[in-house]
Amino acid sequence: MSRTSSPASRPERGTPLLAVRDLRTVFHTPRGAVRAVDGVDLDLAAGETLGIVGESGSGKSVLGRTVMGLVTSGPTTTITGSVTLDGSDVHALSSRARRQLWGPRIAMVFQDPMTSLNPVKHVGTHLTEPLRLHLGLGRRAAAERAVELLTQVGIPEPARRAGQYPHELSGGMRQRVVIAMALACDPDLLIADEPTTALDVTVQKQILDLLGDLTGRLGMAMVLISHDLGAIAGRTDRVGVMYGGRVVESTATTALFAAPRHPYAEALLASIPQLTDPPHTVLRAIEGSPPDLVAPPQGCRFRPRCPYADQQCHEEDPVLVDLGQPGVPHRAACHHPLPVPARVDA
């Protein structure tokens, strides 16, 4: 019945954990082929945190789900490239072997806590299921561990909460439960897909801090997906900026904030609400609309919205190149990368 898998020791901090190579996820729809992820490379070491930032529809969720192996090739979906987690190719595994990764190796926190818990199941059951399945815990042991997990994510009166239904908890509390659920089997990699978008502003910071704190303390690697650069500032080691299914800039988070090289990243930075803004300032959204993933613009995908576009941008699709200093990689896909300011205050 229950497989007893010893919670394998975590790969040593800094060893390569995740390698994504030329990953493409194409959905075949009546409208045509939607290239939701279009040639993405990622590397993540154990214990490292990576932010993925991009506006709505840029393919962040599809990327996260493809990395996890929740989206797989099928009649309407084609996936090419590779996702290697801890040495095994996620998309080459049998579905059974893949399910064994989910929980103990890789786990996900979803966007909307209102819908990611089963309304007819007790809070505690959401936690005991993976514990019993992957760790082979008995009923009692699983129930005790569930209460510990709820305590760990900062839920008051955890024993009482475990016996309640999801609708009896607030949004913030529910997202804590979802996080506890993802942490249950102590994964090496946590993918948090916009974990705070659906929450009140006041709760957002608490949840992000909780995630940063827990992954740091447990030495867990994390991919933190957000449409808001502000959310990943100070919480991630590195960042990848996504546009139209591609990573258009990738570097250390501090380096991006100090000097973005891609015009889209610059625009994203400018759209972060500042604490100094008067209340109720209208967000400075980037003008224009995201590219159509069925028929992206010719040349550079950002061209229709880019203030620096010229003829070359129209003709040639820019590729990611390293513009950084030796030892400090800073990749951007742009024909006319922004200059680094004379004085970099890093």
């Binding site: 929740l70 399910r99 103990p104 990611s116 299921e129 399945l133 659920m181 993802a182």
Partner: protein, 317 residues
Amino acid sequence: MRKVLTTLAELVLVLLLVSFGVFLLVALIPGDPAVAILGDGFPPEAYAALRAELGLDRPLLVRYGDWLLGVLSGDLGSSIIPPQTDVLDRILAALPVSLQLAGMGLAMAIVLAVPLAMWSASKPGGVVDRIIGASMFGILSVPAFLIGLLLVLVFVNELGWFPRAQWVRIGADPIGNLHHAFLPALVIALSELALFTRILRNDLVTTLNEDFILAARAKGMHPVRILVGDALRPSSFSVVTLLGISVGRLVGSTVIVEYLFALPGMGTLVVNAANQGDFPMVQGAVLVVATIYVLVNAGIDLSYGYLDPRTRRAHAA
């Protein structure tokens, strides 16, 4: 508990209304029972005397009050057609047959519908889904009596696998009874099956697109376990509602099946009584069927609290 009490109070009210409705309906059916009894060419005095004897000369409301008092004390009156048997006795003889047919038929339908719907929904638009969908549509489009007729011809007349027209009470001979009831129950099951499968399949497909299913998958749970453990319960509202309606409908309307298989059930009882203008019998039978309908659906109502904990709160305050 509170919910149960308010439901009970509502129930009493509804049943009272139902009884009045039944009474009114039968009283308003065109055709004069006295004429039906006397036949053609009767003397006017005999007609008046018979109407008085049947109580038909009194005002409607008085007759209703009388009848209701009788009903409350367990007396449904007696048939006006000789031999003037007790209505309740006749109903008590016919009801078990109908209940058993409806119960067995619905149980068979559900037992088949749940796995079929899950199989269909696990891959919407896939080969299995389309085959099952087409078969269910096929079953729905063939009238029940044709299916029944076919089954009788093949399995009773040709193959002789099932007995013909010797209904035995379940208490007297359980095996023989089940043997006899199987085919008629199957006919009932088939048409309900198609409906149940379609409805449940559609609701399952909707549920399976929910985030919490993705979250359950992301925990590494087996797809079948997700289907049964996570998706089924939140998807079962419509089918449970439909089930409640079916119970009530079937108890009184399995006439065709009863006729095909010569079963002495409620459908036969009501139809015969109606043809003979036997209004106490019709009133009593329809009242019993309607009461069962109301009770079953009250039970269904209470089950929503189990199916979806969110609906419990609405009644807790």
